[in-house]
Structure formats: C-alpha cells, structure tokens
C-alpha cells in the first residue's frame, strides 16, 4: 500500500470524525483534561523531588536528637565530644534553632544560630550572615522581610521567652531565588538564640555530625544509639527520603481529588470505543460492500483512535507543562500551599523525566487505539449484509 493510499484512508477517517464532531470534540476535551491533570501531577512531583534532592545534598550527614518521653528535647553539648571520638566521625557541631510564632503577622519563623559565613560569591544573600558569636544582628529570609516590611539596615524586634523585647539590626536578606529554603528563616548569632529561647548554656537543639565516609553513616548512627539510647540519629538519606514521601503523598492527594474525573473518562472512552453505534456498524458494512478490505477498516479505525488520542495527549501534555512551569501549577496551588502565611514564592525548574512521559503516553494512547480497533475488527469480519441489516 502506497503512502497516498494511507493518506486517503486518513482523509476519509478525518471526514468521518468531523461528521460526528460534537461527540468527538467532547471526547478530545475530556481526554485532554485527563492527560493535563496526570501530566501536571507527574511534572510537579518529579520537579519537587529533584529540587529537594539537589538543595538538601548539602545538609548534615547525620543529625542526633535527644528524645525524652517521646518528644524531642535539648541535647547536652558535652555529648559532642564523646560522639566525635567514634571512629569515622570527622566533626560534631551543636545546632541551635527553634520556632518563633509571630502574633503580629500570624506566621511561624524558624530561628537559627549562624555557624559560619557563606562562600564568597554566593549570589543568594544580599549583605552577610551574622557571625557565630555576634550579637544584635540578623539575616532574614525574603518571606520574613516581606511580612514585616523589612529592608537592609532595618530593625526586627522579637520577644524572648523571658518576655523581653530584643531588637536586631538586619545585616542580610536572602534573595528570592533561595525562598524554597530560607523564606521563613531568621539567622542570629548563637548568644542571641540562646537568650531568645532561654536555652540552658550547655544545651543545644541537636547535634550535626560530619562523617568521613557517608556509607559508614548508618554504622555510626547505630553506635551513637547504643552509646546514647535516648537519642535518635537521622541520616541525610532519610531526610531526602522524607521529601520523596511528602511529594509522593501530595501528588497522591491531588490525584485522588481528580480520581472521579479519571474514572468517568475511562467509562466514557470504554463505552465509546468498544460499543460501536448502529451508525458506525452500518458504515463498516457499506464500506465492506463497496470493496473495502478488513485491513482497510482496521486501518481506518486505527487512524480514528490515533487522531483522537494523539491530539488529546499532545494538547494535554503541552497544557500541563505550561500550567506547571509557567503558571506555578495554579490549579493545584491551594492543595500544595496549605495555610501558611509565609509561603515561598518560587518557580520550579522544569526537570522532565522522559520515562514518565512515555509511560503516560503508553497508558493513554495505546489502550484507546486498541479499544477502538478490536470491536471494529469484529464488525469488519462479519458479513456486510448482516452488519448493515443489524
């Protein structure tokens, strides 16, 4: 069969589809919507996971928390010395951090003690970080700066656990490019964090452990647990896995919200594709009677399935891309953002997994074509006279 004859069959198929344009347009719209939703979820969760993985690869290899009565408690700084004596541990640093609820803007901040300065040339901080032992200065996240109308050189006032107001000169503001990490952060010097939270001087929130070889981290975690049974070591691998799970759950939630639409589409497509209408059966009978071969009928139905499913797939995937990467997934935003006051304003990097797109295509286009061809083949192998008479 020449290319021209294939094009003739395609021409005939398109004219046939146009004869029932409202019905077919309806299917294309619903099909596109389903691909759009599924594609958006896939793009969104994959990009989030990849970004989280890249951002968190610098986080500590091991965090050691102290537990008391099932809750996290402050950990004695003295334990750092004993942990650093474990073979394979290259350093232990106490972390001083906590949460601060600001009733003024009804937002939660994360207060963190500075433990050094950023690399020279880091473009994500305007100004500088407070020194570890510096007092009275702060670096704030863009979200905090927006919520409190703060600029460089302004003062931010916080109320300590003792009820005293503490003022900090803002010496640094994180750039908007880092909002996913720093939106709600306030970085202070260690003495200020201790005073703000009234932490006992020999206690820290937790300990950050650096190991020489990351593959040894689980063994070191085990040793820390057996040496200090009231501790809970958290590996970096687990931190990253947590984000995998978080975005997996969130994607699942959105998918569940649209599950009704998905099921409705499957029923619609199944009904449309498998049950040939009397008119379609008659059409097949007439085509057979005027000399069309069974293979021509199957080819026509193949084209019919391909035109509908491929058009819907392409439109759906383009719309999903534009929705997620140009409009920040605005349809799903309420389900993703939650109620937080300081929500990071970020634009996702378009990490695309070709495997996921191929899978989406395989699960939408191929079944639709198959469910269109099979009943037509059944009708096409029947005697034309019988088909036309019904």
């Amino acid at each position: 069969m020449s290319l021209n004859s294939h094009m003739n069959v395609l021409d005939f198929t398109l004219l046939s589809l146009l004869r029932r344009k409202f019905k077919n347009l309806g299917i294309v719209l619903v099909f596109t919507f389903i691909v759009f939703i599924t594609g958006s979820i896939l793009f969104l969760s994959y990009s989030f996971k990849r970004e989280a993985l890249l951002i968190l690869k610098g986080s500590p290899e091991l965090i050691v928390q102290r537990m008391s009565a099932g809750r996290q408690e402050l950990i004695p700084v003295g334990r750092a010395k004993e942990i650093s004596a474990i073979p394979g541990v290259s350093g232990v640093e106490p972390r001083y951090w906590g949460y601060y609820y600001d009733p003024l803007v009804k937002a939660n901040y994360t207060i963190l003690a500075s433990s050094g300065s950023l690399s020279a040339g880091n473009r994500l901080l305007q100004g500088r970080l407070p020194g570890p032992e510096e007092k009275g200065v702060a670096a704030v996240g863009r979200g905090v700066a927006k919520a409190r109308f703060i600029d460089m050189g302004s003062t931010i006032s916080l109320v300590s656990s003792a009820g005293a107001a503490m003022d900090f000169d803002v010496v640094g503001i994180f750039e908007s490019g880092s909002e996913l990490l720093t939106a709600d952060l306030i970085v202070l010097g260690r003495p200020d964090v201790i005073r703000l939270f009234r932490m006992p001087p020999d206690m820290a929130t937790d300990l950050a452990v650096t190991v020489r070889n990351e593959t040894e981290a689980p063994v070191i975690a085990g040793k820390i647990r057996s040496r200090f049974p009231d501790t809970r070591p958290i590996l970096r691998k687990e931190i990253i896995r947590t984000y995998d799970a978080v975005f997996g759950w969130r994607s699942g939630l959105i998918l569940t919200l649209f599950a009704g639409a998905l099921v409705a589409f499957i029923i619609l497509a199944w009904d449309k594709a498998t049950g040939l209408s009397a008119e379609e059966k008659k059409e097949i009978g007439i085509l057979k009677a005027i000399g069309w071969e069974t293979s021509d009928i199957i080819e026509m139905k193949f084209w019919e399935g391909l035109v509908i499913s491929l058009s819907s797939f392409l439109l759906g995937i383009i719309l999903a891309y534009v929705h997620v990467y140009f409009f920040g997934a605005s349809v799903f935003a309420p389900a993703l953002k939650g109620w937080s006051v300081i929500y990071p304003d970020f634009r996702l990097a378009p990490f695309i997994d070709p495997y996921q797109i191929a899978m989406l295509m395989a699960f939408t286009v191929i079944p639709y074509i198959a469910s269109t061809i099979i009943p037509s083949w059944k009708a096409a192998i029947t005697d034309p006279d019988e088909v036309v008479r019904g």
């Binding site: 094009m7 395609l10 021409d11 398109l14 970004e51 890249l54 951002i55 968190l56 610098g58 986080s59 500590p60 809750r71 996290q72 949460y99 609820y101 939660n108 994360t110 963190l112 950023l118 690399s119 880091n122 473009r123 994500l124 970080l129 996240g141 979200g143 994180f174 490019g177 880092s178 996913l180 990490l181 720093t182 709600d184 952060l185 970085v187 689980p218 647990r225 070591p233 958290i234 590996l235 691998k237 687990e238 931190i239 896995r241 947590t242 984000y243 978080v246 759950w249 058009s311 392409l314 383009i318 891309y321 939650g338 109620w339 937080s340 300081i342 990097a349 378009p350 990490f351 695309i352």
Partner: protein, 105 residues
C-alpha cells in the same frame, strides 16, 4: 488542503512546540543547577535539613526532624493545618534497624 495534511501539520506543530519547551527546559534547568550550588552552600553552612515548604505549623516545617504529626499541637484548640499536617507522612527510620536488646541479669 487535504485533511490528512492539516492533521499532519497539527501534530508536527505540537511536536515542535514540545521540542521548544524541551529546549527552554534545558536552559532553565542549567540555570537552576548553577543556583543550586549556592543553595547547597546555604544548606551546608547553616546545616539546614528541610525546605521551607509547609511553615503553617512548627510540626510541618521540618518533616524530617519531627515524628509527632498530630493536630492541636501548637495550642489547645489549634486547628489542623490541612493539607500540610495530614498529608505529611512521618519519616522512615526503619533503615536504622538496631533492634533493642534486653540484657539478662
């Protein structure tokens, strides 16, 4: 114009548009990778463990660091922070293994 040609042009147009989106993706991803070095520097310097994605409540801010995910934690009568509080699974500590051994006296 033949209908088949119109359809072919439509498919070609979509594929070309997707290819253009793919090319812009490459540019945007390479830009992000450059920025991610700075982000990773912030993470390493400040020893951060979590991204600021759900700062609705203190128990949703650092999901990798907390294990109690229940409503009303902030104060009695505090409403649940849906969806952050309810769709965040507790971290998986199973890899640590370390079954507790009871020593005989």
């Amino acid at each position: 114009m033949r209908k088949s040609l119109v359809f072919g042009l439509f498919v070609l147009g979509c594929v070309l548009f997707l290819a253009a989106l793919g090319a812009t993706s490459e540019v945007r991803v390479s830009h992000f990778l450059a920025v991610s070095r700075d982000l990773s520097d912030i993470t390493a310097t400040l020893k951060l463990t979590d991204i600021s994605f759900s700062d609705d409540a203190r128990y949703t801010r650092n999901p990798s660091q907390a294990d109690i995910f229940s409503a009303f934690q902030d104060y009695p009568g505090s409403i649940e922070h849906f969806p952050s509080g309810s769709v965040t699974p507790p971290p998986d500590f199973s890899s640590l293994g370390a079954p507790m051994k009871v020593k005989k006296r």
